[in-house]
């Protein structure tokens, strides 16, 4: 089968998709299938690796190589795979519990090492598979099965965690905006390095509506900010608001009150500090709060681990010659018994 003829359908498997009806995972699956079809990679060169969670069943539904592994370890598994098979296209599927609770350490280490993989973090602010306990991204105060009196933990801000770990690419998108989702997936895939893509995903069984403010028609305009490289920051149903920078502080302005696009904060994906500022626009939505940014916050080329490793192998081989097994076994110092 020539790669150019592949369509989204070619990436579907014969397995029944077993998410709850209405789960946000369906939309993400659809977009991923459609994106990989457009990438022009051969099906056999694509691998999906996941941990455990509802989202982590994903690989079963992708007709590529795949592994549904153990909780929290997909990132580490992918690191080993990528170190040995740098030419493969490796996608990691993980949930907010899988990647930020039990798997937090492997995630930040993968990010700093900068393996060239795509990490899709399905953030539904809940543990779906285990039926509704709070996750590290659940809001403080939230009542869940394991927090009948409300969550005490201060939630992680995934974008801030990623930037703190020197990630080279971070973007945020959502299950309910397929166009944006697809666009961001493509951008992530293009990036040569670890791409962390946080996807707001609705768990309609255990945390229904966690992101409705950002996804519902009525509220979306005023509460979301879609950032684009080189573009001024505007939002609102009719782009009637803009964001200016007052020193280090972003300020919302009304565009019809004499503010021009030129005054606004222009998005620059290469700017770590500004990406940090975006990551900090993380209020719980309320009257007068900052909008929540979506899109590519940060993108920075800084060399991947697997390339450096390959280069070291080449270097070592040049310096020492191709390894000779008999020489290795005999060592430098032998003697004869005759």
């Amino acid at each position: 089968m020539s790669e150019s003829t592949l369509t989204a359908k070619d990436f579907a498997t014969d397995q029944d998709v077993r998410w709850c009806p209405g789960c946000g995972d369906y939309s993400i699956l659809k977009q991923v299938q459609s994106v990989v079809a457009e990438l022009g990679r051969k099906r056999e060169d694509i691998i999906f690796i996941s941990g455990i969670g509802c989202s982590s069943r994903f690989p079963y539904y992708m007709n590529t190589y795949g592994m549904h592994s153990i909780h929290g370890r997909a990132t580490a598994i992918a690191s080993g795979l990528k170190a040995t098979r740098p030419e493969l296209d490796v996608w990691i599927i993980t949930g907010d519990g899988d990647s930020l609770s039990i798997g937090g350490n492997h995630l930040i280490h993968l990010l700093r090492r900068n393996f060239n993989v795509n990490i899709l973090l399905f953030n539904n602010e809940i543990y779906g598979l285990t039926k509704g306990q709070y996750s590290p991204t659940s809001q403080q105060g939230k009542v869940t099965k394991s927090s009948p009196f409300g969550v005490l933990d201060h939630a992680f801000n995934p974008s801030a965690v990623a930037l703190g770990a020197d990630c080279s690419f971070y973007a945020r998108t959502m299950d309910r905006d397929p166009r944006h989702l697809k666009e961001v997936l493509k951008r992530g895939n293009e990036h040569a390095g670890a791409s962390l893509i946080e996807i707001y995903q609705n768990c309609n069984v255990f945390n229904d509506g966690a992101f409705f403010t950002f996804t519902d028609k009525e509220t979306k305009g005023g509460s979301t900010l879609f950032v684009e490289q080189g573009q001024p920051m505007t939002f609102g149903e009719n782009k009637e608001f803009g964001i200016k920078l007052d020193g280090f502080k972003p300020v919302v302005v009304k565009m019809n009150e004499g503010h021009s696009l030129n005054d606004l904060w222009i998005h620059d994906e290469q700017d770590y500090m500004k990406a940090t500022l975006l990551s900090r626009m993380f209020d719980v939505p309320s009257e007068g709060s900052m909008p929540r940014p979506f899109g590519v916050f940060f993108s920075n080329d800084r060399g991947t681990y697997e390339k450096a490793l390959e280069a070291q192998v080449v270097e070592a081989t040049e310096a020492l010659g191709i390894g000779n097994l008999d020489k290795l076994i005999s060592g430098n110092h032998t003697w004869e018994i005759v």
């Binding site: 795979l81 493969l88 280490h109 097994l325 290795l328």
Partner: protein
């Protein structure tokens, strides 16, 4: 030469000094020179737990024991014939280990008031009669070294550092050995620091000449060449042998070697060794922890590499869950456990065999793996190679149980030629074999082994995972009967390995008789030596040593049933013992030593004699 060398078959010598005194280097040089000369030998380094334990204290003593001889040598020896004590603490920690009338070489400058205090001596053992029953040679090594170098530009600290060369030179004289090997070694090591090189060479020679010219003592030894099998030899340490075994297996299998690991004593040297050999395409990955190390291996194995990881007890403990995944995925994976004293952090620099049960059962569910164990440093090469072979050819995780004693010990090795190594045939699924039939990930051959389809192979795309799988298709299955079938199949796959591994043989002694000593791992040398002596003394005793701990060799039941009694010596509280009793329902006799130290041959001999009393 004023003294006549006394001919001796075997010499056990122990170097004991401060961690900073270079005892390991001295010991290793002495070992290499003797090996090169043609002796057989075995070594046993014994470090303090600290990086630099407090100077001058017993806790800070670094020891290096070795035995060499004109006979075959299996252990670094029990009682020492010669002790080199660089300071009071060295003497204190080792004296009980010296044979009556044994030779003790003492660096007197290590016995000043401060040193005596630090070693907690109330009176000076050099003066109070403590050493009355030994042949003592007092040498002010520090002073002699300083004097040798009085014209050098080096500072006092640096000249002091070369005093171990004085000892070495002196020993070369004492045992009539050639210094060339050490001279060559020094040149390599200090090539870029000519003044230090010069100092070391000078002091080495000074030590030799000191023996030659002074008349203060009389004991000199002659240890002839051993009549070892013909061949080319090298000296090898256990961790090094393990590393080389892994590389050899990868080369023979035509696979990329991946070693994912997190440093831990006493396993780290495997990582260090492998990291040097990137020119073999070896990829080492220092992971953030042991879980990442083993799961990175699972990724690499899925990708078609020979994936290997190494650690010690505490690190192995947290790999358990991932090993269960590897069992479920049925992929090749080699896990080396260089065991150390437990439980918990335990005795990190001491040896123990107490992770056997963990190797077999340290996971949730019915999750068998293959378990093998080397018996000596050089045997670690063959065992590591065999571990890889089994993993690759049978698509299973394999645990290799080495230990601190094997890892750091060394011995001469008549190493093999690479072409004589067993071939290793990976069970790779090729695209062309699946043009007419679909690739079914869990379809099995007669050995119940599935085929390994590697990403990048067109048409063989498939998904694996940790949920129970349907046999043949590999789909997720909650079917009750399938689950039982799969549990049994995974176990049967391991059992079938018993059909192809060698039968258990008797190492020494008769095939039938009164007493069988059955053991595994590093007690080999002590038992070998003990049984040799016991046989000479007419005892009815045999020795069988297990390399394969799961599955057992298929004739093991017959082997043990040929004896009235079975003695199982272990450096643990009786773990093989549990397996043997369970499997064969025979009473056994335990001999457990849980002291962080290897068995001595005498301990085995005494136990056998006690049994016969």
């Amino acid at each position: 030469m004023k003294t006549t060398p006394q001919e001796t078959k075997e010499i056990t010598i122990l170097f004991a000094g401060d961690s900073g005194d270079g005892m390991q280097l001295t010991g290793n040089q002495f070992a290499n020179t003797n090996a090169f000369f043609g002796n057989d030998l075995a070594t046993f380094p014994n470090f303090p737990a600290e990086i630099r334990a407090p100077i001058g204290t017993v806790a800070g003593v670094s020891g290096f024991q070795m035995k060499f001889g004109s006979t075959e040598i299996y252990t670094p020896g029990d009682q020492c014939n010669v002790l080199v004590a660089m300071n009071a603490a060295g003497l204190k920690s080792s004296l009980h280990n010296v044979e009556p009338q044994g030779t003790i070489i003492i660096n007197t400058s290590g016995f000043d008031k401060k040193n005596l205090n630090l070693a907690k001596y109330n009176s000076n053992p050099l003066e109070d009669g403590t050493l009355a029953n030994f042949r003592v040679q007092l040498i002010d090594i520090s002073k002699l070294t300083q004097e040798t170098l009085k014209d050098s530009d080096l500072g006092r600290k640096e000249t002091e550092r070369s005093k171990n060369m004085f000892v070495l030179g002196y020993l070369y004289w004492m045992f009539n050995r050639n210094m060339e090997g050490t001279e060559r070694f020094l040149k390599l090591k200090f090539g870029r620091k000519p003044d230090i090189l010069d100092a070391n060479l000078k002091v080495l020679k000074a030590g030799y000449h000191y023996g030659d010219t002074t008349e203060t003592f009389t004991s000199r030894y002659e240890v002839k060449k051993a009549s070892l099998p013909k061949g080319t030899y090298r000296s090898i340490m256990g961790n090094q042998a393990t590393a080389i075994g892994l590389i050899a297996a990868a080369q023979k299998a035509g696979l990329q070697l991946f070693y994912g690991s997190y440093p831990i004593t006493p396993a780290s040297d495997i990582l260090h060794e492998l990291a040097k050999h990137k020119n073999f395409g070896v990829k080492t990955f220092q992971a953030e922890d042991e879980i990442a190390a083993v799961t990175a291996c699972i990724g690499a194995a899925f990708g078609g590499a020979l994936a290997t990881t190494g650690s010690s007890g505490p690190g192995i403990a947290i790999k358990g869950e991932a090993l269960g995944l590897a069992v479920m995925l049925e992929i090749p994976l080699v896990v080396v456990n260089v065991q150390r004293g437990g439980p918990s952090t335990g005795l990190p620099t001491k040896t123990e065999q107490s992770d056997l049960m963990q190797a077999l059962f340290g996971r949730n569910g019915e999750a068998q793996t293959v378990v093998v164990a080397p018996k000596t440093p050089k045997d670690a090469f063959e065992t590591a190679f065999e571990a890889c072979r089994l993993a690759i050819e049978h698509m299973v995780p394999v645990m290799m149980l080495s230990d601190g004693y094997i890892a750091n010990g060394s011995e001469p090795w008549a190493f093999p030629n690479s072409k004589d190594l067993k071939p290793i045939v990976p069970q790779i699924a090729r695209a062309k074999d699946y043009e007419t039939e679909p690739y079914l990930p869990y379809k099995r051959d007669d050995n119940l082994v599935r085929k390994w389809a590697v990403p990048g192979t067109p048409g063989l795309e498939h998904r694996l995972g940790g949920l129970e799988k349907q046999d043949i298709t590999g789909d997720v299955s909650y079917d009750p009967d399938n689950h039982q079938h799969m549990v049994k199949t995974r176990a049967a796959k391991i059992d079938r390995i018993a059909l192809s591994i060698p039968l258990q043989t008797i190492d020494q002694g008769a095939e039938k008789g009164k007493l069988l000593i059955l053991a595994w791992g590093s007690p080999y040398g002590a038992i070998k030596t003990a049984v040799k002596r016991l046989l000479e003394q007419g005892y009815d005793v045999s020795h069988a040593h297990l390399r394969y701990l799961n599955p057992f060799p298929r004739n093991l039941g017959d082997v043990v049933k040929n004896f009235d009694m079975v003695l199982i010596p272990e450096i643990n509280d009786g773990q093989l013992d549990i397996l043997i009793r369970n499997k064969f329902l025979i009473p056994t006799i335990r001999l457990c030593k849980i002291k962080g130290m290897p068995f001595t041959a005498n301990e085995i001999i005494e136990k056998v004699k006690e049994i016969y009393e």
